[in-house]
Subunit: 120 residues, 2 copies
DNA sequence: TGCAATACTGACTCTTTTGTCACTATGAAC
DNA sequence: GTTCATAGTGACAAAAGAGTCAGTATTGCA
């Protein structure tokens, strides 16, 4: 099975999935939109202060291209643009959740290690 | 909350998780080890023919460093080394599964798009 | 007139990640 | 003594990704 998507080849649907969620800020953006929606760019920026605007916009564009999020532009000045997860984007909820869970569990194993280092 | 791990700072456990699973072949390796274990390097190579040996070894080393996999060296010649998921590594099962599921669903949406393009 | 607010884009650099190639070690079998 | 198998390492090149900085547009308001 070979999947052709955006001029690239993927040999498994897993690889395709990874190409969609792989990006420094994508999981974080999706996480934000799962918790509060819709969000404006300026709001996402506040929630992810370590990402600079240019990066966020790029990641948002890619997510939009992949139809993970939708972008609605209000015809007003100054501009108002709202982002929300699409139906397909909502399918990422289990992915984000399981990553968060793993993160928590992994963090605990690190902490225990540190403890035992201190004890030793 | 700031997590210090391997000389880097992580602001959420989610970011920490991403640092552990982020790597061109890591999810694929974990997927393999979830389906069949233990595996030797040469066996993983056969399952992931697109990854070259050097890359696989690098990813395996990183996973080992993060204690996601264990590496057992048999004292024989020619060398025999077995890799398997650690207890912590097994916690990644939901992550891999949800990514696979999403990949399948995402693939279907692409296929439908292609259909409608053909129809239009 | 000029500044504020919002959501951008372009062009560039820097860093990280990935990929490639050549090379090593060991002992058994021929 | 040459060759095979396995699992590796080192050094480098190429590519991808991330980050930075300056700039744009619109309109209302002081």
């Amino acid at each position: 099975m070979v999947i052709h998507y955006k001029d690239k080849q993927y040999f498994t649907s897993k690889d395709l999935a990874l190409s969609v969620i792989g990006g420094r800020w994508k999981i974080a953006i999706i996480w934000c939109l799962l918790h509060e929606t819709p969000l404006r760019l300026s709001e996402i920026q506040k929630k992810l202060p370590d990402a600079n605007q240019r990066m966020l916009i790029r990641q948002l564009r890619e997510l939009e291209e992949d139809k993970i999020i939708t972008r609605y532009v209000y015809p007003v000045v100054p501009p108002k643009v709202e982002y929300k997860l699409s139906e397909v984007g909502l399918l990422l909820e289990p992915v984000v959740t399981s990553i968060c869970n793993f993160g928590d569990q992994f963090m605990q194993t690190i902490e225990h290690e540190t403890d035992s280092t201190l004890v030793d």
